[in-house]
């Protein structure tokens, strides 16, 4: 099964679909959500993104169960080229688990990690190149920056942009499950639209803290993001890439937050 593809010139998406999430599927079906028919397999993916300019950078590394997927994707896209940078968004296991394997395969590769946070040595990151707001890596033809992660779990965290394609990598924010048959497709290639309930199926489990927020405070932060990154494609770590009509998703996320704040979390991942 194919597990990677190019979604913009020089931006390759490597996808780990993971197991069928039957529990989530059953819960979604029980809500009457139209997008998820009974009996369908549901995936909550991990995504890594490989950027290939004159130099190359991998953003996130997939879970421990997907070491072969990420290495095969790297080898398929890079061939004899080196991997120059491996950057991790945060130290969560499904994002950072394969750093050591990748560095063994590409020993000259430079490890890049978020500057935010105080505890880098606890994660073997004492010698990493630390990046944050204001930092940029010019890959030659592609140019990445590392804005603050607006919505996050762990403190040691960064988001990323690629400025030539105007892409925002939103890590844990804007995730959503996809069904069998939708693997490795961008949202604009699906027959239907992503709705609030699909985004809520993810965030009501992962961003459990939405249940304690002041909804207006979050809305202001979301609206500020929408203004700052107007026109940027949205490339999440746990959903399908959003290349068209990204503005719509900021407003959908405001609805998600209001719903979770009103109804609480629905489970764990």
């Amino acid at each position: 099964m194919k597990t990677h593809r190019e979604i913009f010139p020089g931006i390759h998406w490597i996808q780990e679909c993971g197991p069928n999430r039957q529990g989530i599927a059953d819960a979604v079906v029980a809500t009457g959500a139209e997008w998820c028919p009974a009996g369908v397999a549901l995936h909550v993916p991990q995504n890594a993104y490989l950027l290939t300019g004159e130099r190359t950078l991998l953003f996130d590394t997939l879970s421990p169960a997907a070491g072969e997927i990420v290495l095969a994707g790297l080898e398929s896209v890079l061939g004899d080229r080196p991997l120059d940078f491996v950057a991790i968004s945060h130290t969560d296991v499904p994002h950072a688990a394969n750093v050591s394997r990748i560095l063994r395969r590409y020993p000259a590769c430079q490890l890049v990690a978020p500057a935010a946070g105080e505890t880098h040595p606890l994660y073997h990151l004492a010698d990493a190149t630390l990046v944050g707001p204001g930092d940029e890596i010019d890959l030659g033809g592609l140019r990445v920056t590392f804005p603050e992660a607006t919505f996050l779990d762990a403190a040691l965290h960064t988001w990323m942009t690629e400025e030539t394609t105007r892409s925002l990598f939103t890590v844990d924010w804007l995730g959503f499950p996809h069904m069998e048959g939708e693997c490795l497709q961008c949202v604009d290639e699906l027959p239907g639209e992503i709705d609030v309930s699909r985004l809520e199926a993810f965030h009501s489990r992962v961003m459990f803290w939405f249940q304690y927020v002041d909804v207006d405070t979050v809305r202001r932060a979301t609206d500020a993001l929408a203004r700052r990154y107007a026109g940027y494609s949205l490339l999440p770590s746990h959903g399908l890439p959003i290349r068209e009509d990204p503005e719509r998703y900021y407003e959908l996320m405001n609805e998600v937050v209001a719903n979770v704040a009103a109804s609480g979390r629905t489970g764990v991942l």
């Binding site: 421990p64 296991v93 105080e118 505890t119 762990a154 803290w209 927020v213 405070t217 202001r220 764990v268």
Partner: protein, 253 residues
């Protein structure tokens, strides 16, 4: 330094500290004496691996743990599991993750949040934590000892020289600030919370699960007598985090 510090009711604290510019951060584990053997709560960080290994070995008379209950898979909590299992055998791992293979724990027995499990003859209830970073985190309530193991909330940055103190014995000067500093640096999402909503959820947990001791991974143990003082400091800290963020946002706009 002794191998472990008795907290009572069959619970011992094996603490390690990570030094930060403004103080120390605990990265601890706990040992629970159960009828069927010793249970570790969390495995600590690989940063402290040698010291932890030595102290756990000493505290268990060389036997090592027979089981480990994991608060969450973050590396400073789970990072020593493979090494400890190589050293002391494939002891049972109990974890609340819904997808163990994705979290690198394919051998774990799942603890569902909201349920209770018997581990080596001692009963634990797994709670949905209002203060956490990873979504699958659980707080662990020891029904027999009435000890509530918590991560990542309820930490305190403490001054050097007080690494084995209970929270109530820390110097008053700087203690409130230590609670604020820990939560500000660790749980960045607190900038968005409604403090009343969060504190209500926390107090509800203590009403339903009365704790003689709150046992944080990232802070000193908190005795029941000091819990209200801690909650007051926590609430003050959360309100400061929220108001500071609001002021910064207004300035930027």
């Amino acid at each position: 330094m002794s191998a472990s510090l008795e907290l009572g009711r069959g619970v011992e604290w094996i603490h390690e500290c990570y030094s930060e510019p403004t103080g120390h951060l605990h990265v601890s584990v706990y040992l629970v004496r159960a009828p069927g053997g010793d249970i570790l709560v969390d495995s600590g960080s690989f940063y402290h691996r040698d010291s932890l290994h030595s102290r756990i070995e000493s505290a268990t008379d060389g036997r090592g743990p027979r089981a480990l209950i994991l608060s969450h898979s973050d590396y400073p909590h789970s990072g020593n599991i493979p090494t400890f299992r190589e050293e002391w055998g494939d002891f049972e791992i109990v974890a609340s993750v819904a997808s163990p293979e994705i979290q690198g724990l394919p051998y774990a027995r799942r603890a569902r949040i909201g349920e209770s499990l018997d581990v080596l003859g001692r009963r634990f209830t797994f709670l949905d934590p209002p203060l956490a970073d990873r979504s699958h985190t659980t707080w662990i309530y020891d029904e027999e000892g009435k000890t509530l193991f918590v991560a990542d909330g309820f930490g305190t940055i403490h001054p050097p020289g007080h690494c084995d103190s209970w929270w109530g014995d820390l110097p008053l000067e700087g203690r409130t600030e230590g609670v604020l500093e820990f939560h500000d640096q660790t749980l960045r999402w607190l900038i968005y919370v409604d403090p009343d909503r969060l504190m209500t959820a926390l107090r509800d947990i203590f009403a339903r699960h009365p704790a003689e001791v709150v046992a944080p991974i990232h802070g000193p143990p908190i005795a029941r007598a000091d819990l209200e003082a801690y909650l007051d400091d926590l609430e003050s800290g959360v309100r400061t985090i929220v108001s500071t963020h609001a002021a910064m946002t207004t300035e930027e706009e």
